[in-house]
């Protein structure tokens, strides 16, 4: 009964196309390259500020480094043609949101420019998973996480 219920929920939230291994790999490639681009832009925005070498900003640097390490790992798995599943995609998206939220908590809260990083992260999620209900649910989760960013 529980398994049937889980299956039903999984079917409801998982786009049919993501059940094909080729599509998951394709989506992961998009996700990895999208993350590289956002990472580069983020590093540029942090480094371009005149007061970059404040001790607090160094804490910021740990976040893109963590993102870089995980993205490297996934990129390596793709290049080595190792299996990549939906769970990897979900994990990457969760990590995006977690790191952005951590950045806001460390920094100035929601008025910080880091808040803007939620937009590409959510947009990438919507492109990769292409399930409207799942994307809206994911957005609601991010919205509910906002109070912790004070």
């Amino acid at each position: 009964m529980l398994n049937a219920g889980t299956g039903l929920v999984k079917k409801w939230i998982t786009p049919g196309s993501l059940t094909l291994p080729d599509v998951v790999i394709y989506a992961t490639w998009i996700s990895v390259w999208g993350r590289w681009l956002i990472l580069l832009l983020g590093v540029f925005l942090i480094a371009y500020r005149p007061g970059f070498w404040y001790s607090k900003d160094l804490e910021y640097l740990a976040l893109p480094v963590l993102l870089l390490a995980v993205n490297c790992l996934v990129h390596y798995r793709l290049l080595a043609k190792r299996p990549v599943t939906q769970r990897w995609l979900l994990f990457l998206s969760l990590m995006d949101v977690a790191l952005i939220t951590a950045g806001l908590i460390i920094g100035a809260g929601f008025p910080s420019f880091i808040f803007l990083a939620y937009y590409p992260a959510l947009a990438m999620f919507a492109v990769i998973f292409s399930s409207l209900w799942l994307s809206l649910g994911w957005t609601t989760m991010v919205v509910l996480a906002t109070p912790w960013c004070a």
Partner: protein, 258 residues
């Protein structure tokens, strides 16, 4: 005026408006992109299902040809052989007609093997396996020994690549059978680290100098090769009676599923 959200996010009215605005933008972005991707996914699924239906129809058609027309052509050929045995040796005209008709029926039988074996490719069989059976059929129909040589292991190839290479091999064998009158033919399939190389050689009559302008065999093969990102070359040794048709397809962008 102050708004408290969740765990201690105290905002004045201006900040609250900004926050609500930012959160609303999140939903707008996700809704917009979600709708676009869903629409695109629907289009993709429609295209995929349409392609699958076409593929299934082609497989069914190849099965129908095998079960009906090809069997009939085979029976006609058997009848020709029987008629030739019964015909008097003195009636040379009749023998000539029977021989010509038998050659035509064998030609028809061979031509029909193209779509029949292409159906096996679409079913997902390996190219090497299909070409082996195709060469055996060639030998049985034409009585010309056909040998197949393979080096390397066949990687998973997209059906377009396997279909294209199969079509080239079939047309090269057809050309050899119809025009070269060879004593033997050889098909070689090399899976090299960077490319796939398919060659079909015969020891029959040379191609004429203006072969490119005659018929559509070579130009059709060249079009097949270009369609799968490869190149086709034709070597016809002058006076030595040997023709080799070679197709080379680089692996870049080749790998894929059935």
């Amino acid at each position: 005026m102050c708004l408290t959200v969740g765990y201690g996010l105290d905002l004045d009215l201006g900040q609250a408006k900004v926050l609500v605005g930012r959160l609303a933008v999140m939903y707008i972005i996700v809704l917009g992109i979600g709708l676009i991707t869903q629409f695109e996914r629907l289009r993709w699924q429609t295209a995929v299902s349409s392609e699958r239906r076409l593929r299934r129809e082609r497989i069914e058609l190849s099965q129908q040809i095998h079960d009906t027309t090809a069997q009939t052509a085979y029976m006609i050929d058997l009848g020709m052989h029987r008629a030739r045995k019964l015909a008097s040796e003195s009636n040379e005209d009749l023998l000539a007609v029977l021989d010509a008709t038998s050659a035509l029926s064998r030609s028809a039988m061979w031509e029909m093997r193209g779509p029949i074996d292409a159906g096996h490719i679409l079913e997902g069989r390996e190219l090497v396996r299909v070409l082996c059976s195709h060469c055996a059929t060639f030998e049985r129909i034409t009585a010309v020994p056909a040998e197949i040589q393979q080096s390397g292991t066949e990687p998973p190839l997209a059906s377009e690549i396997r279909t294209g290479l199969f079509s080239i091999a079939h047309n090269a064998l057809t050309n050899a059978f119809l025009h070269a009158k060879p004593a033997r033919v050889e098909v070689s399939l090399n899976f090299e680290p960077e490319r796939i190389k398919l060659s079909v050689s015969d020891d029959g009559v040379n191609l004429p100098d203006d072969y490119a302008d005659r018929g559509r065999g070579i130009s059709g093969m060249r079009a097949d090769a270009e369609q799968i990102g490869g190149t086709l070359s034709v070597e016809s040794a002058n006076g030595q009676g040997a023709t080799t048709i070679t197709c080379v397809v680089p692996y870049q962008g080749v790998d894929g599923g059935a």
